[in-house]
């Protein structure tokens, strides 16, 4: 199994949908899976942009609260775990990925790494040494505190990962 296939397999186990796509079909695919109103932070993935989509960039707090879907990029995918690494920088990825019911993650297929040691090695240099912040997010937010597993405790209830192959 390729690293990306392993990643997809792991995500399937987490009840996370995945779509592999070419940059050209990004807008079309996005339109299908995004429930409006939607807000976003620039994904930072080569060849794709949210500029000409229904996704509102640089949302106000009010837009953030009203939005059903939040679209952000991820800097890394971790195949073994089905995790994505989200930046917590000034571009608003953190709130957009956290406050909406649906989180759509855009990730470059080349940024999927095999395992946690590789991911942490990369993060040590790009997050730790850079004194930056990031989240390793795995599946939707969840809790079992109310007597059964419920998705969407404080964060998103559903996650969809778009793997962009250029």
């Amino acid at each position: 199994m390729s690293t990306v296939e392993t990643f997809e397999h792991s995500l399937e186990g987490l009840a996370v949908e995945t779509t592999r796509l070419a940059p050209e079909s990004f807008e079309e695919v996005l339109e299908e899976i995004v429930t409006e109103p939607a807000v976003g932070a620039r994904p930072g993935v080569e060849g794709v942009s949210l500029e000409d989509t229904a996704v509102a960039l640089d949302p106000t707090p009010h837009q953030l609260e009203e939005a059903v879907t939040g679209v952000t990029g991820a800097v890394l995918g971790i195949a073994d775990y089905g995790s994505v690494v989200l930046r917590s920088t000034s571009d608003g990825t953190e709130p957009v990925s956290l406050f909406c019911d649906d989180h759509v993650v855009v990730l470059d297929a080349d940024d999927v790494v095999a395992d946690m040691p590789t991911a942490i090695g990369w993060m040590a240099a790009n997050v730790g040494d850079a004194r930056e912040s990031a989240i390793i997010a795995t599946g939707p937010s969840a809790t079992a505190d109310m007597g059964a597993l419920v998705r969407g405790a404080h964060g998103p209830k559903r996650v969809h990962v778009l793997i962009v192959e250029s």
Binding site: P61, E94, P95, M116, G128, T138, G155
Partner: protein, 733 residues
Amino acid sequence: MSADREEKAAHIRRLLDTEGDSVQENTRVFNQGRYTAVEDLEEYEELKTRARAIKEDAIERLPELIDQLTETVEENGGNVYLASDAADANRYIEEVAGDAGTLVKSKSMTSEEIDVNEHLERAGVDVYETDLGEFVIQLAEESPSHIVGPAIHKSREEIADLFNHEFEPEEPLETAEELTMFAREYLGERVKEADVGMTGANFVVAESGTLALVTSEGNARKCAVAPDTHVAVAGVEKIVPAFEELQPFIELIGRSGTGQDITSYLSLFTPPVSTPAIDFESEAPITENDAEREFHLVLLDNGRMAMREDPELKETLYCIRCGACANVCANFQHVGGHAFGGETYSGGIATGWEAGVHSQESAGEFNDLCTGCTRCVNQCPVKIDIPWINEVVRDRINHGEEPSEFEFLVEGLTPDAEPSGLDVQKRFFGNFGTVARLGSATAPVSNWLAELPPTRWAMERTLGIDRRRELPTFANETLRDWFVAREGLPAAEADREVVLYPDTYTDYVSPERGKAAVRTLEALGVSVIVPDVPESGRAPLSQGMLSTASVQAHEVYAELAEHLDAGRDVVAIEPSDLAMFLGEYEKFLPERSFERLSENSYEVLEYVYGLVSNDPEKADVLSDGPGRVAYHSHCQQRTLGLEGYTTTLLEELDYDVLTSTVECCGMAGSFGYKEQYYELAMDVGYELQDEFEERGERDRTVLASGTSCTDQLDALLDRKPRHPIESIAPGPE
């Protein structure tokens, strides 16, 4: 004394009735999840070893790391406050909170430790717990019953009642989904109005100032980034030197705690974070919010630096608070943290924490619920010897006891090295070897006398031996008496020689299993010696009587040394005594002595398995199946990885073996005899009973390796259990 015991028994009974079922259901899910999650992890042992090494190094260099971290965080633009105790920490946090109206908090045991909520509330700040479990506890005005799942003692129905009563929603809340969504919305509003967010920290990286927060709900992320002021409270022991060193912990913590491969969110914040704070009143884009971020890291000492200097409590600081020791513990599974916990912490490692950060008294309240079974040892991701910490604290508590009024009753029975104030019940059980020697010497009179109602009444009143528990019957002829009076296989005709260790129970109570062992070994061409070796020290150790245990360890080694020099192996029947030789003796004996003994000591079926594997034809002399047996291994035997020898050997001898999936019999030596714990011991035991009494399994012969397990099974089942060696031993003639 007796009133104390009755009160404790009543408390445990109450919890068994009210919280037991919920705690059991939830901890089981965590525990089973952990088994599955670590099974998939190829490098599990390696990760544990690395995690342990990182913690050892970090605690060793702690003062230096605190300085480094302080410098780093300040360089990043944050503040560090090293708080000496709870009051100091609270004073600082109150200052930071200033005139904040609302503070939102994510779950943090360290903040529970300092009771910061109460402090802030008194200062006029509205504090909201945003972790849903903590929120339930806060509404119910209770304390957490588990360090990872604070509300696991509450059922969904109870939570629904609580919410409906508290919030009076138009439509009563019922399902977990409805309750969660209600709490999400309610707490979402609190996050919006909050001026300050407070979190704990699972790890703090000295090199970069990064905080690692492990959560599934996402509330810690909201608390840390939505308001512009973030206060993180962390014990000084949470520091790891470098970012890369987070890796083993990230892979272990979720698996060890709730049995998830990884939790939904692992936040690695290096505050003050650059993500924009959200001003929910503003109409400008979030990214344009340039509010100055404020970050305060409160590093809490509160006894930790002293623990670091304490050779026995030091290991507690390696703890990553995953709760695995609680989840795997049979007693915890039945009563939860409201019995098995102190002021803040609960479960196995809680004794170390409570003794270190609160007081010995606080640790003493629940310390005896650890039976020393060792099931938690292999489950701990940083390999802490939790039972040993419990024994040490028990010993320290013993030394603090005042002399009791019944002291004179057991004085003649106590040739030990303990302080005069030691609890009379502990003193009695700690000297069980002496009791057994006297009982056996005067049997059958002693047995008859012991069972008379007035005796049982007196034993319960003075020693706290529960009247409902059947007492062991002392044999007229001990194993050693039998052994010296017979003619064995002479060493000259044998392939090898062994020393069969005559543990107290085998010698005085169950000599038949010793005889079966001797017959088996001789039939396999092994010459056996059963020397006059003192008891191993297990009995006093279990009561926290460490000096006595140490004296006995030295005596045992002195007696066995010459046999070891002569190249004889030591074979033990009782797993808990073998566990002493292979484990605790390391703490008592010089290194070389410990190595010599531990390297040459074996469990009896392990030894027989080895002999038969070397020469399969030898198996012909053993009594084989087919027979249907139900086998319950002993907890310490399993920790040592020895269960497989017994099951494999039985299967190779054509027995049809059913092994118990419930892991505990509930007895654990003296534990089940004690008046205050009898009902809990039985409650745990009923599960094993259910398993072995199931339809279609009642015809199986019940086998158990430990004497306590045998006693408990005897009380639970109609069939009389035996040791596996009695099944496979060749007949007497």
